[in-house]
């Protein structure tokens, strides 16, 4: 049994989320808790897939993509402060994406190949949603908005940067593996993704701690 170093960040993040349960509820970010559970289970089985006698862990990550996307979208919707028609458009887009991801999973790239198309789609949506959210946060008519103390700012920044990096690294996943593209004798994937993960989950944890003002939202 093996636990990769960045997994500690994910576990810590889940612990922080549970610890900050009330604050998360106050910021309507409770969906993070099931999401982090999924993340932890996936990452654990993903790194230890040989223990279970599997040949590859793609199925796990494909399932992860399928299961986690609704939660991500739900959280993104909460952070966008949607009103009226926007809500409808937003959820229509989300459902369309989910359908595309499912179709890809079952029919196009199949469950046993890494679903790069789904991932690219997911990353694009993450980048778009987090950018919109950040813009809305900035333009929103709130006088004293201190970004460094604003949980939504941290979550969205981290999501944005994560989306930008994984778009390239994971989008080219197969290409990188087949062509043995390496930096410092590690595959590009292994060189970049763990650190990015660590940063993302550290960012989330920090954001959870900042969610302290119930009543504001």
């Amino acid at each position: 049994m093996h636990i990769a170093w960045f997994e500690y960040f994910q576990i810590a993040c889940l612990v922080v989320a549970l610890y900050c349960f009330r604050r998360l509820r106050a910021c309507s970010l409770l969906a993070f808790i099931p999401l982090l559970l999924i993340v932890n289970v996936t990452e654990f089985t993903g790194t230890n897939y040989r223990l279970f006698g599997w040949e590859s862990n793609y199925l796990i990550y494909n399932l992860y993509l399928l299961a986690s996307t609704p939660f991500y979208f739900y959280i993104a919707g909460k952070m966008l402060f949607l009103t009226g028609k926007e809500t409808f458009v937003f959820y229509a887009v989300c459902i369309l994406c989910l359908i595309l991801i499912s179709v890809n999973f079952f029919f196009i790239q199949s469950p046993f190949r890494f679903n790069t198309y789904s991932l690219i789609l997911f990353d694009i949506m993450t980048i778009v949603f987090s950018s919109l959210s950040l813009v809305r946060l900035t333009i929103m008519d709130q006088n004293e908005l201190n970004f460094t103390r604003e949980p939504f700012f941290w979550i969205n920044s981290v999501n944005l940067l994560f989306g930008l990096i994984t778009l390239v690294v994971l989008g080219l996943h197969e290409y990188i593996l087949i062509n043995h593209i390496e930096i410092a004798h590690k595959t590009l994937y292994n060189a970049i993704v763990p650190s990015v993960n660590a940063i993302v989950y550290a960012g989330y944890s920090y954001a959870f701690i900042l969610c302290r003002t119930p009543g504001i939202r």
Binding site: L134, N143, I165, V168, L172
Partner: protein, 261 residues
């Protein structure tokens, strides 16, 4: 083969770096914008606070002026009239007779005193300023000054009357009052001309006195009195303009311009 692979690695890394750079740039810009916005709101709040402070100060000053005026009126007018009535009553008492003429004199005096008191009571009402238009308030002030007999003030109003917002009106009135006070205190003038003109976008008030005149720049630099400084500061606060035109020996003109909205 190794070469092309390196190229791919470099390209991928470059793309990642560029994307990251753009992402971070975006965040930095948001940060910058947000800070700017924060600063602006702070400035606005400060502006609002100063405005409110000045408004309050103007109100207090007007009140003070009103109290002075009332004590003077009571002492000079009502007091005088009532003393006269008392003297007349005294005469009647001495003579032990009730003379028709004297009685009617006493009655007249008392009813005059009553009118005066009613006037005073009216001017005490705090809503007076808000109910009256700017020219009306100024006219009242002029009437009072004229009655004291120190000065002869004439006024003219031109143009179609337009409404000046309440807060602006109050501050503007206080500026005019300060102008009158300065004339009474310093100018030694015999004649004052007030002109109120309603122009397209603003109301223009000018107060000319034929008194001693002075060098406004020097007086403002001295920073001894508050009156002139307050006039200028408050004018800019309500988005208007004030101008003090004067030379020793040539009288003084105070010009005030206030936009309608």
């Amino acid at each position: 083969m190794q070469d092309t692979r390196d190229q791919v690695v470099f390209t991928i890394v470059a793309v990642i770096i560029i994307l990251l750079f753009l992402g971070v740039l975006f965040l930095v810009m948001l940060f910058y914008y947000n800070n700017k916005k924060g600063q602006m709101t702070k400035e606005q709040q400060l502006m609002k606070a100063t405005f409110e402070k000045q408004l309050l100060e103007s109100k207090l000053e007007i009140q003070e002026q009103t109290f002075d005026m009332i004590s003077q009126e009571i002492h000079d007018n009502v007091g005088q009239i009532l003393s006269l009535a008392k003297v007349q009553l005294g005469i009647m008492e001495q003579r032990h007779i009730i003379e028709g003429d004297l009685v009617s004199n006493v009655k007249e005096s008392i009813s005059l005193a009553m009118t005066e008191l009613r006037d005073i009571a009216k001017s005490l009402s705090s809503e007076r300023l808000q109910l009256l238009s700017l020219p009306e308030s100024i006219a009242q002030e002029i009437k009072r000054i004229n009655r004291s007999g120190i000065l002869k003030v004439t006024a003219s109003v031109e143009g179609v009357e337009k409404n000046v917002p309440d807060h602006q009106k109050l501050i503007a009135f206080r500026m005019v009052q300060e102008g009158f006070q300065n004339i009474i205190k310093h100018a030694g003038a015999s004649e004052v001309k007030v002109s109120i003109r309603y122009l397209e976008e603003w109301i223009h008030i000018s107060i000319f006195d034929n008194g001693t005149g002075f060098n406004p720049e020097n007086e403002l630099k001295k920073r001894e009195g508050l009156g002139l400084q307050n006039i200028l500061r408050r004018a800019s606060l309500i988005g208007g303009k004030a101008n003090i035109i004067s030379k020793p020996g040539e009288g003084t003109t105070l010009e005030i311009q206030i936009a309608y909205a």
